[in-house]
Amino acid sequence: MSSVDMRVRIGALELRNPVMTASGTFGSGKEYADFFDLARLGAVVTKGVSLEPWPGNPGQRIVETPSGMLNSIGLQNPGVEAFCDNDLTWLARHDVPVIVNVVGHRADEYAAVAERLEQESGVHALEVNISCPNVDAGGMAFGTTCPAAAEVVRSVRAVSTKTLIVKLSPNVTDVTEVARAVEAEGADAVSLINTLLGMVIDTRTFAPVLARGVGGLSGPAVRPVAVRMVWQVSQAVSVPVIGMGGITSAEDAAEFLLAGASGVAVGTANFMDPTTTVGVVDGLERFCQERGIEKVTDLVGAAWKR
């Protein structure tokens, strides 16, 4: 069968295929390099990196839910310096674009991380995770109000020339509003969805299972919500959309592309099968071949471009 052009473009960045890893589910790639060649991926998206080391949340951090899981890892990470020394150095030896997920509690913290990463040629794009609690605004996530989201993006954009992806929260009334707000501030792409806020209560102890109470819901359970939001956002903005939420197979990934995503990321499914991402890459190529589709980009938004 003829080969399919699998390349996609996210801002200035050309990826060899649309399949990435979802932040926080793939470490910095090292842990999965035993299972396949990372160069097979469109990009590696790292876990969230903050200015200073973050300890993460206490206690029980995960719980399984019907077709999903909650996590309350709390963005544990060693801070941007240690990240550059260890993870980036290791990743630089691999032929795969690196997208660094950036986190902070205040807009200036995000900017400081972006500034530090600006010097690193091994960083190909930033994914600004605006789902962290906004300390200045009382703990509500940046990603849930347009002004706060815009402020974070503005301050990062001011110091970074790298491709800027903004990761949107699904815990909002109208995700297109936030998407438009960050596009207006110069985001080169948006990615969605981050996790839905959820809770499980232990009926033996009568207390929430997670030490923090609430956690983030991910996995196949959330896929219909994610597809709906990708469909909405991709029609509301003109920058590319990276879709994620419950992708386990090439069919699932195709659903996101058809909904309007230019790229996809695999998260929770890595836990079940560490080779999920490469399976999605191969499966997507076959999906196109079987239908005589020459470029994977022909799938993008096909469900609404009629």
């Binding site: 589910t25 995960i62 836990f271 099968d273």
Partner: protein
Amino acid sequence: MCGHGPTPAIEPVVVVSNERVATGVCRVVLDAPRTAATVEPGQFVHVRIARSADFILRRPFSVHRARGERLEIIYQVVGRGTRVLEDARPGDVMDVLGPLGHGWTVPEGTTRALVVAGGLGAAPMGMLVERLAEADVQITLAQGAPSAGRLLARELFDSLCRRSVVATDDGSAGTCGFVTVLSAELLQRERPDVAYVCGPEPMQRIVAGQCAEAGVACQVSLERLMACGVGACLSCVVATRHGQKRACVDGPVFDAADVVWDSDEDPEAER
């Protein structure tokens, strides 16, 4: 001797047998040539029990023994996953991710070892006592369980340990009381070079304290809820004197002296 095995892989496995060995506890034997050949004592496998979409997470189980091409797992039926595992029949296919984690280590010059197992803590001790016996280490084993019917792997332990004693909560076998009574006494009496401990976390904490007092090196095998099993997700962290470590790759076996024990009541303690 190092607790790390070779790189992990996904191995499709076939159920050879699956049977009850104690009240609420079963042993499944899996045909798993690659993993069986490479696993080290104290390592674990991450098992994909069922393929249905509502099983999002694998389940971690210590390798009890590895013989030829076969792995033995001893598991307690506690929830959804282990209930499905209990129903597996010979010939059923599943897959394991493994071998994973950092297992037991035998310090240079060890001649006498104390093994302390509470409840399912006996599971990771099978390969350990085999390895110790091969190395001519004299083993004393103390096992605790709620009752006689829940003692595990007695035959193996009795045959390989110089001394093997039990304690049961209800006194239906051995000493009546907790295994920590036995361990306190044995540490004093036998002065082992090293103690290996697995069981409910409060019990491990107590034995670790006894070892520290007695000046005996102590290794503990800690359980955490695990998503990835390979070090990527940080769901399984253990507080240590060297910062937060991942139970799945830096453990499950830790030097007890490094562990910062959780002073709060451990919710897993009930098991």
